[in-house]
């Protein structure tokens, strides 16, 4: 793994409130992860499906369009997904509380 990639991943992982980062390949199997196995597998499977649906939705409306980024914000977390042709990058961040 190139050092650039490693450094960037490390930086993201150590950012404030980042819960975990997962990289999954085209089939939905995790390639690299910082979370535990069961959580990783869950995220991988569910997010993979959701992203496929989202991508299908966008492209169904206009086949020349494509999904570039997906953010799911919930009460506790925000899941940020960057889909690519052969893999997917998922980052889960806790919601920071503004005071």
């Amino acid at each position: 793994m190139s050092s650039e990639v490693e450094d960037a991943l490390k930086r993201i992982q150590h950012m404030k409130d980042v819960h975990g980062t997962i990289i999954i390949n085209a089939e939905g199997t995790p390639v690299k992860t910082t979370l535990d196995d069961s959580t990783t597998l869950q995220y991988a499977a569910l997010i993979h499906q959701l992203t496929a649906t989202a991508k299908g939705t966008i492209r169904e409306m206009d086949p020349q369009n494509d999904l570039t980024f997906l953010r799911i914000r919930s009460k506790k977390h925000e899941i940020m997904v960057s889909p690519e042709k052969g893999f997917m990058l998922i980052v889960v961040q806790n919601i920071t509380e503004e005071k």
């Binding site: 990639v5 930086r11 993201i12 492209r59 086949p63 980052v91």
Partner: protein, 749 residues
Amino acid sequence: MALTLLLCHCSFIVDPTTVKQNQSKIFAAGESSTGTPTDLMSQASIYQTGVTSFAAPFTRSLFGTTLSHQSSRSSRDSFAEEITEPTTGVTNIVSGLADVQRKHAEVREELSEADLDKIVDITLTESEMIWLLDITGTCASQETDEAEAIRAKNQKYTELCKARDGNDRYADRGMQTFNDAPKHKDVQTAKVEHMDAGSIATTWDLYDTYNNEVSEGTSTAEIIPEDAESDTFEAAENKSSSDVKNDSMGSKSGGSENKSSMLTSSSVDMDNTAEEQDKSKQEHSKARDEAILESEDLVKDLFVMERVVTLNIYQAKQAAYRGLDILPDIDAVKEETPEEQKNAPVDIAQLGPNLDRLWAYSCLLTKGRNVSCMAWNQLNPDLLAVGYGQFGFTEQKGGIVCCWSLKNPEYPERVFQCEAGVTALDYSLTNENLLAVGMYNGSVAIYNVRASSDEPILDSYESRGKHGAPVWQLQWIDKEKGSSGEEKGEILVSISTDGRVTQWQIRKGFECADLMKLKKLAKATKKKDKESKDGQKGEAFISRQASGLCFDFHSGDPNIYLAGTEDGHIHKCSCSYNEQYLDSYDGHTGAVYKLRWSPFLPDVFLSCSADWSIRLWIQNRIKPVFNFFSSTKSVMDVCWSPTSATVFGCVNEGAVEIWDLAVNTLDPIIVSVPAPGVKLSCLLFASNSNSLLVGDSEGQVSVYQLRNILSSKTIRLICCQISFIRPYQASEDHITTRMSCIASLLHSH
């Protein structure tokens, strides 16, 4: 003579009511036969006329066969394969005939008078013809050689037929077929595999397929990992063949060996054993995973993701930076008590002018380094270049230049490592990707921020006129009309401790030319001897060169600039004269660290120095108009506010001070003290935001937002102030009185 045994099978069920039909059918068949009607008729007649010696065994045999066959339909079926109705066949007909033979008699008995009068519907349908034997007759001409032979043969045959009846040569014989016991035989086949393959024909799938067909011929062999859908689909489609796959439906382009072998391994292939399949699968998936981690796309994605995560963290601060309202997160858990809520909105308005620290640009790379200079990018005001280098001679270590983006305060976008501490920075005006860097060892380098390499595109290492001492300031000047008349475009001007103001040009190489050699001036003890040379009157100098520390070009006239020296003199110079100063300003008693022309007033400039003071000057007055003393530490940097004409900020080692001349000329309106142990070193106002950047000796660049600073009437006020000053003659004794007058004037407005 053709012998044709015709069979017209009739669709009938053997029952009394339809027997009549059969009878008629047979007759009809007999009449309509195209073969030899005589034969059929003779047969029919044979059957009809009852049991003859010839027919009897025939019928008996038939009967026997039919009886035996009636039970088993299979032989009938096998015999008459092509017949659609199962109840027909030769034997059937014959049996029918035989039955007719028998039942005919029976039926005759059963018929009553009433029945004879009934109208019976007879349906005649033509059925299939089954050819059992077809020996077509041949005709030969009578004149051929063989005609005689044929005639003889024919003759012989007719005689044979006639003589057959009672001939000894022919004996009737009956035959019986053996009915073997039926045997059940089971055959087992492998289970027929069923697989459901479904596909949803989505719009984008169709689009992709058409596009791939178009680009098939020009596609290069890339190892592109496929997605799950196409894999399983292709596995379903291409089970046994192993060399297909390039034109599978709805999949990516490419025809690399890797891909096809992956497919063969992942498809249900009869050739590979299960183990081999798994192994190759694993290896391929590992290779693919490695490829993912090395790919360019991942780097890009990580870059974007980093910024997205940063946005989440810094969103409120960045909104404040931009001057946008900070919207509270509606989903955030509210933990404030009612008391706090009341107090919070009141406090901010009551505080008065203050600095609100938003965030700090810093990372591990910059920790411990002194921030020496900062510069905004001309094109994108969100990009900041920060130079890190120690000021002292003994503390020298290497320097770095970091290009920070507003979008990510935690890691710089670009990092350039320099061999010496960085002391000056400036972004070019015309080519916004060029960054000029001045270093402690006197070298000037130009970096291309857009390029991915870390090497400077130009370096002054080989220039003959390079500086021998630290370069303290760099500035790109856009000259419309240069001193020699032919220069157009930008030049880079630098000043350094070796006493020269040099201009650099990027022509063939990195050319430099001296704009000015700073000469030392004696301190003005007498009014007349303002400029003394050669040290005749006044001090004797060791070196005639004065060390230059800062300069600033006039915004209106790019030929005029101010230079500040280590002795405390400020000289007004012109690019046209490189020997003499136009003017010298006398006031500072320590090294002048920074000079700044006011962005609003064309004749006013500020200077800050090591003598703990900041002085305000007007261009045509030798003595300073205002002196600001606020601390006992040397002032490192001073900067005018880009939005207010009377506001400027300065930084000394211990604090950040914001002065507002419209409010108070004696004290700064804001004094902000950083964490203990940290020395502040430079200051920069943001052009697109109400913020201030302060660099310190720990490698942090803190962003402060200015709040509650009035900026509306200032321009008018300072103009009034200047107009009142001009009639007065400068006199050192009257400085204080003048200042108080002006102060009162300001306050009255």
